[in-house]
Structure formats: structure tokens, C-alpha cells
Symmetry: C2
């Protein structure tokens, strides 16, 4: 039996839902041309049933009842844009169990319950698509699942949180301190009233879990990802990094090496000539490295109604192509290969480090600090002593060779216990192209 | 009838063909996992039948005869990597006419014969895929055809020729003159012994034709694209552009506006903080702008065995998914919508211009040049007069507001006829974010 139209139901109609409904209803003709048959948005469930701006509303389109979508036998694709974990999960599971395909942007849920959702999708032979969950409209999920199919991927890393990137951009370009930059982000609508989910790195951790699971064909649980937010970054850190030729960006990094897969989210120093340097304001960018492809990067807006709704609609169209041909074997939402790689604990990660020490202006200070580093096999590539007024505290910057995280943490404890150290030493990890 | 394996034949086994064969034969297991059934490379046709490095060869795999591929009823997918126009076209047409799907990297052929190939693919209900034809392994074709399906695209522009980007990078970073940079590119294997196809912009024009046809849903013939290569760029141009805060990049630009679609390939000034600034050496990058997506960018290696073979294999896997399900309606290789936009002749394009005039060091020179510009409605945003030794020629740099190409060409003729002008004025077009 060939379909004559594909029917879509939307559950949750906030900002992104409104954008999705607008595209589906106003770009009907263009979508029909692409697809070869009409894509019909037949029902939108949301507690608020007032008409939305730019969304042509017909009687019965808006309903308060999610059941009206989930129990409608004509609806083949359910778009979950409720957000949160509990009700969203129930919606997705019920939809898939009644044979409906699902499109979602819910990164928190995917990061928490990926394998369970994956298993139910496979069992019921339905698609679960989630392009909008990472990096908004940038087709990074499609590229990882399809475009790079011929590759063995080594690393996926990037700026995946627009809020943090906006804050660090303001601190870097306008010399704002962290708090002022957060207020600025809130004023512009880039940060929530409570910005914790973004600035403490939890949002970036969700996204890295999804990206790494796809890139390495194995499930990466949230607990395996080290996370450190941007609260402790100061204007002075950014200035000192600049002096050494680096910019500070908030990076999510997944990298496969001989000892296992590194998984970490933290503020990071990057060389000023890096492609990431040009990623400013609320933009996102994700670098994918593999064999044979080499290094590639994807750049665009990572959030907001526009970018996100573009990705949701692309997923709907992809699924609609499958719906036309019910025989098609579904590509599973996550591919889990047989060979599993070890997930590397943060303590065993090796990278380069930047240290900013605040010390008394006294002879022998550099020697004392260097001794603690050397004793733990941490080599130095540069040391810069800031000129100080007599009697004031000094700032000393250190850049290290590759060193082990546990050794550096240990050295930092020892350094901060030295009597000449006058404030907690600031530490930032460094990414270079040779990492 | 369900397939138990998908059979692939390769015609043309040079550098890229070897890369493709290597992936198909050595990554068999990983590809099978992705696809759910084996992908079998059963025959490779090339005049040279010596075994290739890294390609496990079985008896009968290598043949001199393209017919052995084209007439094999088991082969469902033919990969054309012959290059050139005549024989390659014959191969592709014969394959499609006998119901075989085709993967090609042949941008020259696609740019010349797109509509004809498209028609034959539709008639025989086969796929014609060509991800490798533009920007190597970057999944830009897939993104334009699938990822951005919900968007109306306004512009596609980018660095699509790695050879030219390498040459301009060497001129910018190392202060080489054009000829020396070309020799360097040849030495490194980035430029051919006869580099004309690259440095005169013909390769970039092929690629822009393909990108613009996809982005704007209508066929863009090569003749509609204005092209100007990089031969006339001097070290001095690059230095002067730098003084004004710009870098020189070789850009291919397709942009839809109210008056029609601009189509042009030429060296271009870009602001130093542009994302394109970070695209160095032989890398490519393509910016796609649309509604609702905003601005996105794709970056990676645009050519070479590795990037190109990654794209070819991704296409093979995509088609193999379709082959498994013979009922599937094919997505046509180019989507040509009903509404056509006008293609704007170069003379009517409006952009900003950079002029470098070589003049006698005399009072009234700036006034004389400005008068010619003003008479043709060309406004100025900056004028810089280089300090000169007494008696030497002066260099004067002008940056204009938006102006019409025909007016600028006309003004240049008048300026170069002024008695105070001592050498042909250098002109470069300027792209800014507000273009």
C-alpha cells in the first residue's frame, strides 16, 4: 500500500515547536516537491492552545491532549518538543510502541536514556531521529551517521554551547568580567535567568555524549564524561592566554587514542590561528577528525527557534521518505558496533596545561614552583613572569608539555601549599593541532 | 526479492579509484555493519591492471575492459572515476540505461551535462550521486539535498579550489610572489604541471555550477558564471589589502537577490575576522546562508585521494540502502523547482571594490581619480595614500561603497586613461557580511 500523504503530530509547542509548525504549514508546497507527496501537520498538542504567530490554524489543529496525537492512527510521525525527562520519555516510548516514528530535540533525554530508546525503536522498527539535539541546524548527526560512513573517526570536538561561547566572546572582545558577561548574555536572551545548565557544562556534556556515541559506535554514559564549567574563568586568564598566543573557548572533546577514549568538557586554550578562534558570539562549531577524511569542521547557529526547527523539519522529511516505503529496514538511531573501546578516566588523560600562579615577588619563586612540576614529570615549554611594582604580588604563567592530569592535579596541590603562593593557581587545559 | 549483497563495479582506477577500492575491500566488515548486508567490489576496469598498493586483489578483479563492468548483470552500482568528458559520459549513460546506479566525482561533466544526465537517471529510475564532485569529503551535497530541505537558501559561497587557496596562503603568509607560490604548490603536489584549470578558475566554476543548481533548484549553466582567476594577484595587492584589514581569498559566489542570482568566481577581499580567514593551505570551506538556518559553514580537505574516496564510498553506501529496497522512489540528482529565478549578468552585480592605483606623486591626483568615480555614482569609504620618496610613483588605495560592476569597469577605463596614472589599476571585489 502506498501512502498518499504523510501525517505528522507535534507534542509541545513552545519556541521551537512554533518554528516547526510554521515551516510545515507555510512551506507545504516546497516540501511536497522535495518529497513527492504531501506532508500534513494534523495536530499540535500543548497546554496553551492559543494560535501561534505565523502559524495558520485550522479547527482541531491545536489540542491540550497529547493523547489526541498518540492515539491518532493516521499520524505516522510524532515530533516531541516537550523537553524535560519524564513526560517527554513517556511520549516517545508510547509513540514508538504504537509504531510511530519519532523526531526529538531532547538532548538531556537522549544522553540519559539513549540505549533504552534505541532498543525500543529497533524492536518496533521505527525511526528515532534527533538532528536538532546537537548544534541546531548544522547537519552534524546526519554527517556522522551517513556522510562519514567510510571513515574511522578519531575525534569529535567543538564549541557546542552557544551561551558559554557568547560569554567568553564578550570577555575576550570587550574585556568584561564573567558576571558582567553573564548579565549581558541574559539581557540578549542567550542565557536563562538561572544559567547553571549552560555555564556549568551540563548541556555541553549531554551533547558530547550523543556525538561520542555516534562517532565511536558505542554508548557513552554521562558519568564517563569529565565536566568543568566556565564560572572560574577571569578576564585576567583570558588576557594572559592572549599574551601567549591563545584564546579561551569552552570545548567538548571526545578523542580515541591507544589508551582509550578521552571524554571531557572544560574551558580550553586554543592557538589564536585555530579555526575555532573565528567562532564567536552564540555560534557553534564541531570538528570531526577521521581516516581517510582528515580534519573537517561544521559551523552554524547551535540553538534558537530557527536553527533548531530547520533540523527538526529535515528529520521529518527524511523519515517521511522511509514512510513512503514501509519495507525499508530502519537505520538504528545509534549504531553500536561489536568492538568496544575503553573510556579513559580523566585522571589518565594527557594534555598540555596553562598555569597562572599568584606569588610573592621574591627570588626563588619560579624555582620552587618548577621543582614541584619537575618532580612529577611535568615539563615546561614557557614561563612568563609579569613585571610587577615593588612589593605587589607577581603573576607567573607556565605552559607545560603533555602531562598526565593526575600528576598536574597533584602538583597544583603542592604548589598552592607553598608559602610564596598567594592565591589559588588558575589551571586551563590546552588543545593544539598536535594533541 | 531482497538482495543478499550489493555489487559494485569501478571504472577508472587512478589515485581516487585506488582509495575507493582500498576502503571497500579493507573496511568490508564495518561497512557491512552499517548497511546490514555485504557491499562487494567485484570488478575494477582500468588500462593499467597492475595490483594497487593497499588493495587486496583477487583473480578477475582487475580488467582492462569497461564493458566487463557495464555488461555485468550482477553489478548494481557503477563508480565512474575515469575523468574527462567523452568516455566518462558514455560510461555513465550506458550504466544508467542498463538500470545501474552511478557514483561519480566528475565535476566537469556534471557542470557541462547536468540536465541530460539528470533526465536519463529519472527515466531509468536510478540514482546518480556525486558528493565527491565538490569539496572532497565534506558532505556538502548531502547537506544541500537533505540537511537544508526546510530552508530557502539565499547564498552559497566558498573556497572550493584547494590549489588556489594554497597559492594565496603562501603569498599571504610567506610573502611569495605569484610565480614562486605556484612553483611551491607544484612541488608539494597541490598544482598540476599545467595549473591553468585551477588558477584560471575553471575548476571552481564547475563546482559553483553544481552548488548553485542544487541551492536554487534550477540549472545554472557554466556560461552564466563570471570567472576571473588569480594570475594577476600580486604580493603588493595582498599587503595593501592587509593594511585595510582584509585578506585575499579565491571565492566562488552564488547569491539570490531581488534582481536575480549573482554567479561569480574571482579573487575577493574578505575582512580579517571572517571565518574564511582561517581556511588556509589546500583546505576548502563553503558557507551556506538560508532561512531559517542563518549562516553555516563546512570546512575540510577538498581534494586528494583520502577526502574524495571518503565521499565516493558514502555515496555508494547511500545507494546500496536504496538498492536493498527496489520500490523506493529515487530522489532525483538535481531538483528543479517550477519557479525559476533570473541569472544576473556580471555587469549588473553590485558589490564593494578595492582599487590600487599607481600614480605620479603630484597634487590633484586623488581629486582626478575621485572625480571619475563620483561621476559614475561610486562612493568611497576609504582612501589611503602611501608615503613615497620624492619623485617616485605613489600607490593610492580606494575602498568603495556598493557599486555596479559596469560602472566600476567604465570608471577603471577612464582612470587608466588619466595622464597621472602610471600602471594599470588593480581591482579586487570585496565581500563583507552585509553584502
Amino acid at each position: 500500500m502506498k501512502a498518499t500523504a504523510v501525517h505528522v503530530g507535534l507534542i509541545g509547542c513552545g519556541t521551537v515547536g512554533t518554528g516547526v509548525a510554521r515551516i510545515l504549514l507555510t512551506e507545504k508546497r516546497a516540501l511536497r516537491e522535495q518529497l513527492g507527496l504531501p506532508l500534513e501537520l494534523v495536530r499540535i498538542a500543548d497546554l496553551n492552545t492559543r494560535p501561534r504567530k505565523g502559524v495558520p490554524t485550522t479547527p482541531g489543529l491545536l489540542t491540550k491532549s497529547a493523547d489526541a496525537v498518540l492515539n491518532d492512527p493516521h499520524i505516522e510521525i510524532v515530533v516531541e518538543l516537550v523537553g524535560g525527562l519524564t513526560f517527554a520519555k513517556e511520549v516517545i516510548l508510547r509513540a514508538m510502541r504504537s509504531g510511530k516514528h519519532v523526531v526529538t530535540a531532547n538532548k538531556a533525554l537522549l544522553a540519559a536514556a539513549g540505549p533504552e530508546l534505541h532498543a525500543v525503536a529497533q524492536e518496533h522498527n521505527v525511526d528515532l531521529f534527533y538532528e536538532a539535539s546537537v548544534a541546531g541546524g548544522i547537519p552534524i548527526i546526519k554527517s556522522l551517521r551517513e556522510g562519514f560512513v567510510a571513515n574511522r573517526l578519531h575525534a569529535v570536538l567543538g564549541i557546542v554551547n552557544g551561551t558559554c561561547n557568547y560569554i567568553l566572546t564578550r570577555m575576550t572582545q570587550d574585556g568584561l568580567e564573567f558576571r558582567a558577561a553573564v548579565r549581558e548574555a541574559q539581557r540578549k536572551g542567550y542565557a536563562e535567568a538561572n544559567p547553571a545548565l549552560d555555564i556549568d557544562g551540563l548541556d555541553a556534556r549531554h551533547k558530547l555524549g550523543i556525538l561520542a556515541s555516534l562517532a565511536f559506535d558505542q554508548w557513552v554514559p554521562q558519568e564517563a564524561i569529565y565536566v568543568e564549567g566556565i564560572r572560574r574563568i577571569t578576564k585576567l586568564d583570558i588576557q594572559c592566554a592572549g599574551e601567549l598566543g591563545y584564546v579561551v573557548k569552552f570545548l567538548a572533546i571526545a578523542r580515541a587514542g591507544e589508551r582509550g577514549i578521552e571524554l571531557r568538557v572544560h574551558p580550553t586554550l586554543l592557538p589564536q590561528h585555530s579555526m575555532f578562534e573565528g567562532v564567536r558570539d552564540a555560534y557553534n562549531a564541531i570538528e570531526v577528525r577521521g581516516t581517510p577524511i582528515g580534519t573537517t569542521m561544521f559551523y552554524g547557529m547551535g540553538a534558537g527557534m530557527n536553527a533548531t526547527s530547520s533540523a527538526v523539519v529535515a528529520d521529518i522529511v527524511d523519515i517521511a521518505r522511509n514512510v513512503q516505503h514501509p519495507l525499508q529496514k530502519r537505520r538504528p538511531p545509534f549504531m553500536f558496533g561489536a568492538e568496544k573501546q575503553r573510556l579513559l578516566p580523566m585522571a589518565n588523560v594527557c594534555t598540555k596545561y596553562f598555569l597562572r600562579c599568584t606569588t610573592l615577588d621574591r627570588p626563588g619563586v619560579i624555582a620552587a614552583i618548577s621543582r614541584e612540576l619537575g618532580a612529577r614529570n611535568i615539563g615546561l615549554t614557557s614561563v612568563i613572569l609579569h613585571e610587577t611594582a615593588r612589593g605587589a604580588y607577581s603573576t607567573i604563567l607556565f605552559m607545560t608539555h603533555q602531562a598526565r592530569e593526575a600528576d598536574v592535579q597533584n602538583a597544583l596541590q603542592a604548589i598552592d601549599a607553598l608559602p610564596v603562593i598567594k592565591a589559588k593557581t588558575a589551571m586551563l587545559r590546552v588543545e593544539t593541532e598536535t594533541n
